[in-house]
């Protein structure tokens, strides 16, 4: 989980309507994802690359409980989110869908375009552009295992398959 990705930096209170605009909620995920974060940065969805990192401020993911807010980011290839703090339900959804969400007090030091890598187990983010490292809240082993497997359902699928194998 130590790969490098480019930072896309956003402000405080990025809500679920900005991430998964209500207007496109009924359509396919592909269409919804194309409008992800459009309200604050129209360049994001067309240009984001697999492995890029989202950096937010306070209350990232505030709003409704819609799981599509995470799925849209994931569809675009985002696997890591860093923010000062996350809205509770969004945080649950992110990890349940296999997206790493790290709370970090030092996000202000990150500039758009910085190359970042993270170690969620140790609770450390490295900024390869500036050479700085930041502390973040580590994720415990059992959650990391779930995230690595691709989220809750995939994780359970593996667990159940293992059990069957063993029995």
């Amino acid at each position: 989980m130590n790969e490098c990705g480019k930072a896309w930096v956003f402000g405080d209170n990025i809500d679920t309507d900005v991430l998964a605009p209500g207007l496109y909620m009924k359509g396919p995920l592909k269409v919804l994802a194309a409008h992800c974060l459009e309200a604050v940065d129209p360049d994001f969805a067309p240009n984001v690359e697999v492995g890029d990192v989202i950096v937010g401020g306070e209350n990232f993911g505030i709003g409704s409980s819609r799981e599509q807010a995470v799925q849209a980011l994931q569809f675009l290839g985002v696997r890591t989110l860093i923010a000062k703090n996350f809205a509770g339900i969004f945080f649950r959804n992110a990890l349940n869908f296999g997206v790493v969400a790290l709370s970090c007090a030092e996000v202000d030091k990150i500039t758009a375009g910085d190359q970042l890598s993270c170690d969620p187990e140790q609770g450390r983010i490295t900024n390869h552009t500036t050479g700085e490292t930041y502390a973040c809240d580590p994720l415990p082993e059992q959650l990391l295992a779930m995230v690595t497997d691709g989220g809750l359902v995939d994780h359970l699928e593996r667990r159940l398959a293992k059990k069957e194998h063993a029995s």
Binding site: E67, G88, L143, L152
Partner: protein
């Protein structure tokens, strides 16, 4: 250092001595509650993919309330699917068309202090009134619980809300929570736990406490707890449940709270939340010129027996204003029966209230009672988001059952105290 009530329940559920805020834990789930909208139709595809069974059918409570009674072929099909799923999965705690999940769950004795409970609905904090740690989860989380009997949580910190002083005539728990919505703001609790306490809460009935816990969801709390006392025990016993050992499920005197809010209930005025947020709430006189087309007494928040009794105290011997309609959807079939037995229902229907089925009904626009363009409604429900109860341009004000009833009589938003002077609350 001592532990809060939430920390004690999470510690027990995760098999630890103690837990601290911020700590991630995996918890054994004592009970999982689902309804027809977020339940079987959403979790079954995941269970199918995993080829998995419900871990313990006796720990699942399934309640139909959102599409009850069905209004079209689609909602009928959802109910049909729900019933067949209950049958196929051996869910014996299946309450079909008996009322709204958050009210039926404790009514049938399913909750007791110290339980760790997940609910497939955002108003799941209601269960916190019984000293249970209950919170809402989405379909993916619920499927995980159904397969494994456990779920993970980041241990929340606890925000204490101390409420003291005697509520005046025509005031209720709803006014307190609307006041808090204005003060703390939507989401202001940041997914921590709200724990209510103080003399006013101690003096409240269980149904009034449920109103406080229910709308902890509007504050953005993960759970809204009230430690169990003799009132809790008596309610659970009457409901045929097992109150367990309430003395064990109390926060320690030296527990650490993130912060404490205090409310002086004796100084409180009736509160009304203007469209389109519960946080837009203010003392009622700000709104006294607003004419209302529809008054609604319904929902898990505002149609329990005591809510109906509050409305009846205002409506007894009076008439709903011409040009205004009063819709009444008791929160459960048991509430309807009890209100029929004690004369409450007769007072309400004699005043012109239109009796509707027990279910979510007009609250989230699922059932009958939808608003037309530009119509104004005063409602005893929990949320007044734009378009939630009908047309996008409709306007919903939130108030207590007293205030909704007074407004129905006046044909405009009215202070219930005008109708209750000289009467005891």
């Amino acid at each position: 250092m001592g532990s809060t009530l939430a920390e004690k329940i999470i510690a027990k559920a995760s098999g630890r001595e103690s837990v601290s805020p911020g700590e991630f834990v995996t918890c054994a789930v004592d009970l999982a509650m689902m309804h027809d909208s977020g339940g079987p139709r959403r979790v079954e595809p995941i269970l199918k993919r995993l080829d998995a069974k419900v871990w313990d059918p006796d720990k699942v409570v399934l309640i139909t309330d959102h599409f009850v009674p069905p209004v079209d072929a689609m909602s009928a099909a959802i109910l049909d699917l729900t019933r067949k799923w209950a049958d196929a999965n051996g869910i014996t705690n299946f309450h079909d068309m008996q009322g709204i999940c958050h009210v039926v769950l404790p009514e049938r004795g399913h909750l007791s202090p110290g339980m760790f409970v997940v609910g497939g609905d955002s108003h799941s904090p209601t269960g916190g009134a019984f000293g249970s740690f209950m919170f809402g989860v989405g379909a993916t989380d619920m499927a995980g619980v159904l397969v494994t009997g456990e779920t993970w949580t980041k241990t929340p910190a606890t925000i204490r809300v101390d409420i003291d002083g005697e509520l005046g005539t025509g005031l209720s728990a709803k006014d307190i929570i609307l006041h808090l919505c204005a003060r703390i703001g939507m989401g202001g609790a940041e997914y921590q736990v709200i724990e209510y306490g103080g003399a006013t809460v101690a003096a409240m009935s269980m149904t009034e406490r449920m109103t406080l816990s229910n709308m902890a969801a509007e504050l953005g709390a993960q759970a809204g707890l009230i430690a169990a006392d003799a009132t809790t025990t008596a309610y659970i016993e009457a409901a045929g449940g097992n109150p367990g050992n309430p003395a064990q499920w109390q926060g320690d005197a030296d527990a650490k709270y993130l912060r404490t809010h205090t409310v002086d209930a004796s100084a409180l005025e009736p509160h009304v939340a203007a469209p389109h947020s519960p946080a837009n709430s203010a003392p009622i006189d700000d709104h006294s010129t607003v004419a209302v087309d529809q008054a609604y007494i319904g929902a898990c928040t505002g149609a329990k027996l005591e809510d109906l009794q509050m409305a009846a105290a205002v409506l007894k011997g009076r008439q709903v204003a011409t040009g205004t309609r009063l819709l009444l959807a008791p929160a459960s079939t048991r509430v309807t029966a009890a209100a029929a037995a004690d004369g409450t229902l007769a007072s309400l229907t004699a005043a012109g209230a239109i009796l509707m089925p027990s279910g979510c009904g007009a609250c989230a626009g699922y059932g009958a009672g939808i608003l037309a363009e530009d119509e104004v409604c005063i409602s005893s429900t929990a949320r007044n988001f734009q378009g939630r109860m009908g047309a996008v341009s409709s306007k919903v004000y939130l108030g207590s059952p007293y205030t909704v009833a007074a407004s129905a009589v006046a044909g405009r938003i009215a202070d219930p105290r005008e109708f209750l002077v000289g009467e005891t609350s």
